[in-house]
């Protein structure tokens, strides 16, 4: 454990300054999103406003308020607290991106390594099936898929994104596996009679994971953008549940009264995606160096 911490510390000091800042932002956004949901876990009120509460209905506030000590980031035209909505929206992005990454690395990584190592008919069929899914423009496929559901909640959206995200992970895992399967250490394991399953899990998969994780970070940024776009169109998690995309959609209508409900989610969305891209690019370069030295 201590060694792991030290290794992480060393990696952190080796990062360029922008990448450090980006990583810190990502940690902050994950922590903030989790914090916003703690009350649902423990059933206890937190020092964070209720994202659905509209104080002006009870004569407690004006419809739109600028930043103040009670609403740090101001309110929207329904006098809902921007900060609370922003953090709750972050949770949606986090869950959707997290599901895609977990599904992609676990299922996509395994399928890709498996077909890449065993080759044969299974590989041909799998890759052909994936090509069909990848033949669609991603947003259009998603639209056609969510179009038919009348009720769209977070679980369903996360699952749809998670499943549709798998194909690219399979491709990457397969490509890296093809590169590794002919290497000396795999041949050596085969020569001493190691079982093929053992080779798959001990030699192949550990060596393709870094490339998958580097891609996962960049992919997570892309997923957050696509989910935001879908939300903006009103076709992701439904209102009143706040997401960054539907906050921007609702704010667009009231743009002449207040820009804040667009500005904050827009800023958070962009900063999070920039950070994921920066950290992902950095990791990808490190992985490339490492795999050329392998």
């Amino acid at each position: 454990m201590r060694r792991l911490v030290r290794r992480f510390g060393n990696a952190f000091t080796a990062m360029p300054l922008v990448v450090k800042v980006a990583l810190l932002w990502l940690i902050f956004i994950v922590a903030a999103a989790i914090y916003s949901r703690l009350d649902r876990l423990f059933g206890q009120a937190l020092p964070l406003q209720d994202p659905f509460y509209q104080p002006f209905l009870f004569g407690e506030a004006l419809p739109v308020e600028g930043p103040s000590s009670s609403h740090l980031l101001g309110t929207d035209v329904l006098s809902r607290d921007n900060l609370a909505r922003l953090l709750h929206g972050g949770w949606v992005s986090l869950i959707v991106a997290g599901t895609v990454v977990i599904f992609g690395v676990a299922f996509g990584g395994f399928i890709g390594a498996f077909v890449g190592y065993t080759r044969g008919k299974a590989e041909t069929v799998t890759m052909a099936a994936l090509d069909v899914i990848l033949a669609f423009p991603p947003l259009v496929l998603l639209l056609a898929l969510v179009a038919v559901y009348k009720v769209r909640n977070l679980t369903m959206i996360a699952l749809v994104f998670g499943v549709l995200g798998i194909p690219t992970y399979v491709r990457i895992a397969r490509a890296s596996t093809l590169g590794i399967a002919g290497r000396e250490f795999v041949q050596a394991a085969e020569a001493i009679g190691t079982k093929r399953t053992a080779i798959l899990f001990r030699e192949i998969i550990p060596n393709i994971l870094p490339a998958l994780f580097a891609y996962a970070l960049i992919n997570a940024g892309y997923v957050i953008v696509v989910e935001g776009t879908l939300s903006y169109l009103g076709l992701s998690v439904q209102i009143p549940e706040p997401t960054w995309g539907n906050m921007i959609n609702e704010g667009r209508r009231d743009i002449r009264q207040t820009i804040l409900p667009i500005f904050w989610p827009g800023l958070f969305l962009t900063l999070t995606v920039v950070s994921l891209n920066l950290v992902g690019d950095w990791l990808q370069q490190r992985v490339a160096v490492r795999s050329s030295a392998l």
Binding site: A135, L143, Y149, I248, G266
Partner: protein
């Protein structure tokens, strides 16, 4: 030899199109419950005779695959059925809407090309310099900002703050002339162009850095040619192959990307029709437009693939 490659690619293209159409059909067929529920307007469910009549008319009792082949057969003859809601033939809706979408995609490609080539070339020429670093920051940002957000920002800036351009809506060239048309097209095209612009500038930069290290560039320098001349005449030409392919490749993606941008700017394009079809649960419209966009996307990608094979002898030989 080349004929063989062409034949193989054509077979593959047809197989992909077949699979794409099947998936499009099944996607919307997975609609939970009776499709008749989605077709009828609210309140139309009491009229049992009407329900039977529509069911017969649309032959909804046939097995799924019979209906699929009928749908695809008609689609091949240019008939995508008609909307259950507005009675408009889907093919007419597409014909009506496609000019807007095409103009946006082409204009965005043009903007991206006109800016990406000089940005990429200059960044490569002064690799690591101020311009290069500034542009690297710009491309990172441009790649991370969602298109719809850029669109809203442009509207806020150019319409609400400066009042230079109309925020939404569309002027047809035929009605109001080119200038009025461009006034409504420039902001959506610019928001659409951001991502391809960034990708292309990066690719051209990387490609040019490689090209500038070649011996013939060194010999051109030794001859005493001016830098600008070398950059434009000697270096840009081999890199233009990369540029042409990525531009063409992105055209297919842009047709999908216009969906959300058209919505932001309320333009009468294919994307807004798809979205309104989704809101109304207009099954035929969703299937037809999705099939159309996916087909364009697949065909454009296949053509680019082929173009690349024709242009680059190394790939042709494989």
């Amino acid at each position: 030899m080349f004929g063989k490659v062409l034949a193989a690619k054509t077979v593959r293209l047809i197989a992909t199109l077949f699979a794409v159409s099947l998936l499009t059909f099944l996607l919307v067929e997975q609609l939970p419950g009776d499709p008749i529920l989605a077709i009828l307007p609210p309140g139309g469910l009491d009229d049992l005779e009407n329900i039977e009549r529509i069911r017969k008319e649309l032959r909804l009792d046939d097995p799924v695959f019979t209906r699929y082949f009928r749908w695809v057969g008609n689609a091949l003859q240019g008939d995508l059925g008609k909307s259950y809601i507005t009675d408009q033939p889907v093919a007419d809706a597409i014909k009506d809407r496609i000019p807007v979408t095409m103009e946006l995609a082409l204009l965005a490609t043009l903007i991206a090309a006109l800016l990406a080539i000089p940005i990429g070339a200059l960044s490569a020429y002064r690799e690591g310099g101020y311009f290069d670093r500034a542009m690297s920051a710009f491309t990172t940002a441009a790649l991370s900002i969602p298109g719809f957000l850029a669109g809203i920002f442009f509207i806020w800036l150019f319409t609400l703050k400066f009042n230079w351009l109309p925020s939404t809506g569309w002027n047809r060239i035929s009605d109001k002339g080119l200038f009025a048309n461009l006034q409504t097209a420039i902001l959506p095209a610019a928001s659409l162009a951001l991502a391809p612009l960034a990708i292309n500038a990066r690719l051209i930069r990387a490609d040019m850095i490689g090209t500038l290290k070649e011996d013939y560039i060194l010999s051109a320098k030794a001859k005493g040619l001016r830098d600008r001349y070398i950059l434009m005449r000697h270096a840009l030409r081999p890199s233009s192959l990369t540029a042409i392919t990525v531009f063409a490749l992105q055209l297919g993606g842009l047709i999908g990307g216009t969906v959300v941008i058209e919505t932001v700017f309320a333009l009468p394009g294919l994307g807004t029709r798809l979205i309104s079809g989704i809101y109304q649960r207009d099954v035929m419209m969703i299937q037809g437009i999705t099939l159309f966009i996916a087909t364009v996307y697949v065909v454009v990608n296949a053509l680019v693939d082929l173009l690349y094979a024709i242009l680059d002898p190394r790939i042709r030989r494989q």
